[in-house]
Amino acid sequence: MSVFLLKRFATFVATLAVASVLVFAVLDVLPGNVAQVILGDTATPESIAALEARLGLNRPALVRYGDWVGGLLQGRTAQSYSYDTPTATLIGERLQVTLPLALLAMAFTVLIGISAGVYAAARQNKAGDVGVMALSQLGIAVPNFWFAILLILLFAVKLQWVNAGGFPGWSEDDGGGLWPGLVALLLPAIALAVVQAAVLSRWTRSAVLETLREDYVRTARAKGLSRRAVLWKHVLRNAMIPVLTILGLQFAFLISGTVVVENVFVLPGIGRLVFQAIANRDLVVVRDVVLLLVAMVVVVNFVVDVLYAVIDPRLKPSDA
């Protein structure tokens, strides 16, 4: 297993490194004159030169890249052009919304998706199975940001149970608090979770059905174990192995969904930050945020790989 994990760690580091090169190349090298891109076509040569000096753009690309990555590894980030604040500060503030939202959405996804998938598999080809699969087919077709708008229409416009958007903050001193914060993230998390849960339920059903066909399951039933006992003791753990891999892949879609849904609910998270940065042509912020989002996806997939090695006994070293 340690060889497996070492290989995965090497892939993780390599992926992050290549991602940083690509992000830097697209945002810092390909555009040619980044200062020109930031200031626009009407900028004077003097203002372009001044911005180049301020952002260090007159240094070679390799030096700028090394400076950027070296700074990140030491916890130092560049100054945002439009906010005049280190990007780390901006990102840290916004992560206080995006991270809890992503985690809440993932929790809902796992709860709804796996339950629905197991339920459908246990009732294969019966009404329950058909109903769940029909709903999941519909769920996959629904854009998460449209579902978010429908939730706002129902709960904010029609029923007026919640606000149509915004985030009160986690601190009671700012007029928010833990409970108001969670309430503000509830509808966005559900909007994100619906599509992912639909996908996860189909994969879970498929994995459980595959495992139910195994010989050891037939043996367990022949030994007298009930269907429920077989499902919980033997089937689920083995079925979760491929499901775990899918969860890792789904996280990438969840992160990009978070970017969109934050804009629907006007949440002050990473998604809103990156779009404001694009509008302000603040490429420094865009660069750091995109790398952060890519890094989150890569880290989650690495964690999934580690959990995979823990759960799957075939990857553990055999006992002497």
Binding site: A14, A19, V142, P143, W146, L153, V290, L293, V297
Partner: protein, 288 residues
């Protein structure tokens, strides 16, 4: 003496089976509606979709405006019709990019194996870390938003999807006895790829293409909603949703129509893909 397998049904049988398959039939009808709307919009729409008519803004559905009008008096039905064009354009080109490059990489990886296969798979792993939206953000920040930005961003993300699916399907073909026989007979790997692998993975790729088309429609709508996709004056379902959100209290239905259009289009393609998967599976074909 070996058993003789029944011959697979002729292509006419495939069409008849397709029309009887509920998923495929419903999916095909919905997909045809999408294509018909896009094609019809080239020649006709009830009103010019960008025509502003402020005195008739936010009107309810009527005989004159079947789905009503938006905040600028533009006809919703016309925008829905022409919006189908953006969805089809992005879907077709994004899938073409992914299919042509991805399938080629997958076939190469499978045929060569070794470090070539490892390299292609690591490249596709890496690309998965860049969902289409992030790529569109990156490209939009530099080159500006637009239809082409969206197509490239979504298309690039399709490449590893097709590469993985093609490689997995091709590896299964390479393990077959008839391929071993072809190698023994002296055929090189490219001849085997062309003569045996490509025809046998085609059905898998067709199914994947319909699924990716559906994904591309949702991705385009998301990009347009955010202002990174199709730009005015070309209508887009995603941008219609963005504009409708500002009128949620006055005209909530404005947010429903474009969303329903997206759902029906994506549902149609997904159902058609599911149906094709069943119809093109040779094991299921023999059972029938």
């Amino acid at each position: 003496m070996s058993a003789v397998l029944p011959a697979p049904p002729a292509s006419g049988g495939l069409v008849a089976r397709a029309l009887r398959h509920p998923s495929f039939a419903i999916g095909a009808v919905l997909t045809l509606l999408l294509v018909a709307a896009a094609v019809l919009s080239l020649a006709w729409s009830p009103y010019p979709p960008a025509e502003i008519d402020i005195p008739h803004k936010l009107q309810a559905p009527s005989a004159a405006h079947w789905f009503g009008t938006d905040s600028l008096g533009r006809d919703i039905a016309s925008q829905l019709l022409v919006g189908a064009r953006a969805s089809i354009l992005v879907g077709v080109f994004a899938v073409l990019i992914g299919f042509s490059i991805g399938a080629a990489l997958g076939l190469l990886a499978s045929a060569r194996g070794g470090w070539v296969e490892e390299g292609v798979m690591r490249l596709s792993d890496f690309t998965f870390a860049f969902p289409a939206l992030l790529s569109a953000i990156l490209l939009g920040a530099i080159y500006g938003p637009g239809l082409v930005t969206g197509i490239v961003a979504i298309g690039v993300f399709n490449i590893p999807v097709f590469a993985r699916v093609t490689r997995a399907a091709a590896n299964a073909i390479w393990a077959r006895e008839y391929v071993l026989a072809a190698r023994t007979a002296g055929k090189n790997r490219w001849q085997i790829t062309w003569d045996h692998v490509v025809p046998n993975v085609a059905s898998v790729l067709i199914v994947q293409a319909t699924n990716q088309f559906a994904t591309a429609i949702i991705a385009e709508a998301a990009l347009s909603y955010l202002g990174l996709g199709t730009q005015p004056p070309m209508p887009s379902w995603g941008r219609m949703l963005n504009e409708a959100q500002t009128q949620m209290f006055q005209a909530p239905m404005l947010a429903v129509y474009p969303g329903m259009a997206i759902v029906l289009a994506v549902l149609g393609l997904n159902l058609m893909g599911d149906g094709l998967r069943d119809l093109l599976d040779p094991k299921l074909a023999r059972k029938r």
